[in-house]
Symmetry: C2
Subunit: 326 residues, 2 copies
DNA sequence: CGCCGGCGATGCCGAAATGGCAGCGTGCCG
DNA sequence: CGGCACGCTGCCATTTCGGCATCGCCGGCG
């Protein structure tokens, strides 16, 4: 429906080069070039600065770019809305997430969703913590499943759930019997750590730093899967939320001991949505489904800690504080 | 830039007929028709119900319509934004207003604005009170200059100014010497009234009813200009905000005596903007300008009442409570 | 009852827009 | 200096779009 020039312009901006964009679009570069020139003529401004190394949007180009992307996003959302009028939900749901949730949790909910709504497609991306704000604000993604971080402006938390960041280890580890741990208590034990603060968002990073704990990493990696295997083989302790390791903990292959540091024990996973974003029907359904799933895991996630401290009363208190709307 | 089919679709929906739309667009009806058919084929849904008397959007058509209009509005706003990058402000500012402001006040500010920014065009419409909400929400208009009515949902008041609704009469009228009046005090005097609640919004209507005052209208009309002349010729009292009659009051041709009823004395004129609407640069400038103008009238508008009641202290207190942003 | 007028849909044709191909000029880099 | 990637342009084929005439349909009116 929309003019091809919208897609062309978007691609040129993304690739920073007319030829690259034309290549990605599978059209001749001349065609793309002429559309851009025609557009500049129509608006009476130059939209790209032509450098020796490609093109870069001018201020006017940036404004147009925002309009174009917004239009395309809204178009997709509207198509999904129309499709859902006929009863069958369809469209693409774009999610950004913590990598630890990408490994187990999100595949599960995506699969469950796919069974219920076969027409829905999914784009699930792990993002570097420094790019979360941009990824949510750009309008390219519907929502994020991330650690709640109230430093983000213009982003709403539509549902959040407590999760206890803790130490993951084999059942035969010396610390495996503990009900909770401080980071300082882990000093001396071999630790496997994530490289480059991946997964550990800023909250945790400062907490780890503030504790003064000089943890000695025996193994450093940026692969969750690698760390999973390393921990399973008893090479050290890892620090994670348990959501990505539910199966291992259930089967007794690993033990998750929550950390006592307040900033970590009270950390929360939330569904983060750019404020004012209109969600497509499948995105709304997906948010509801994830909320439900997280809530159903909640007892399991939180139970190992709190009931042990609060003796008898309220033995399995529901602690999810969903603010999801109907 | 945008595909012609957007404009076609919009026009067809507005006119409720393909041929009418084609006529308004100055293209052949077949061209319009085929574009609509192609669009329906592309989306896989029928967008219009073909009746004997033209076409009417289906549910899917309504969704698409919203997207199309939003896209067009945003495009216009973006063009204005780009144009203002070059220093010269341009674009169209769409305002809805009370009819009483249309007669004197808005022509003044529009003229002042036109001098400063010749490239800016204006669309100023009087709307029936029952259509205010729809007119603001539709996205067709930038803002309204109206009586503040907090029953509107999703509409923000970016600036508001007290205005004293009062009785307008000739200086030789028996009540002309009064500092303030109640409606019951007006009983017995001939009154000129607006037909069909035009201008008087619901607040005033109820106030007039609640007061129990049985005012005897000698003349009823729906034309402000007609009533102005009638009042000037001494045929009766009219009830208005003074903004539309500033010149006459200044020249001493008419006297404006504020009404004592709290709901009327404390009525406010405000600039009402649809929440979440992004304003074009000229619209922002126009809002600022109107705010300033209203504020500069404020002393004049409010002074006749309050200083007289509060004797010495705070003789000419500024009472504008602008919440306009820079 | 039949005619007329308005409606949307369609076939046909010329005009305009779009895209593909080849080639130009230019600046960067080894 | 020669390759290389860049944006740009002339030429031609293809696709799309719009105008015109026409069809089928239906309601209103004489």
């Amino acid at each position: 429906m929309h003019a091809a020039v919208l897609r062309y312009f978007d691609h040129v901006a993304r690739h920073g080069s007319i030829r690259k964009a034309a290549d990605a679009l599978s059209v001749a570069s001349s065609a793309v070039n002429r559309q851009i020139l025609r557009l500049e003529d129509e608006l009476g401004v130059t939209l790209f600065e032509r450098g020796r190394q490609g093109v870069r949007p001018t201020a006017a180009g940036e404004l147009l770019l925002r309009h174009v992307r917004e239009t395309q996003n809204e178009y997709q959302r509207m198509r999904a809305e129309i499709a859902s009028l006929g009863g069958t939900v369809s469209g693409d749901v774009r999610i950004i997430s913590l990598e630890s949730l990408l490994v187990r949790f999100l595949p599960l909910v995506v699969q469950e969703m796919s069974v219920k709504h076969p027409q829905v497609t999914f784009t699930v991306l792990a993002v570097h913590p420094s790019e979360i704000s941009e990824a949510l604000r750009s309008g390219d993604n519907d929502f994020g499943v991330l650690f709640v971080d109230n430093r983000h402006r213009g982003i709403d938390v539509v549902a959040e759930f407590p999760t206890a960041v803790g130490a993951l280890m084999r059942p035969d580890h010396p610390l495996a019997g503990r009900k909770s741990l401080t980071l300082t208590e882990c000093v001396g034990h071999p630790v496997v750590m994530l490289q480059d603060r991946w997964l550990l968002d800023a909250i945790m990073a400062t907490e780890f730093a503030d504790s003064g704990a000089r943890l000695s990493p025996r193994i450093v990696s940026n692969s969750i899967e690698f760390m999973r295997q390393v921990i399973k083989s008893g090479l050290g302790i890892g620090f994670f939320t348990p959501v990505g390791f539910l199966e291992e903990v259930r089967r007794g292959e690993l033990v998750h001991v929550p950390l006592a540091e307040p900033g970590l024990a009270q950390s929360r996973i939330g569904i983060l949505v750019p404020r004012y974003r209109r969600l497509s029907p499948p995105a709304r359904l997906m948010i509801d489904h994830i909320s439900e799933r997280l809530r159903s895991f909640d007892d399991f996630l939180a139970a190992p800690v709190r009931p042990a401290l609060r003796s008898t009363s309220r033995p399995a208190q529901r602690r999810a504080k969903s603010r999801s709307k109907a």
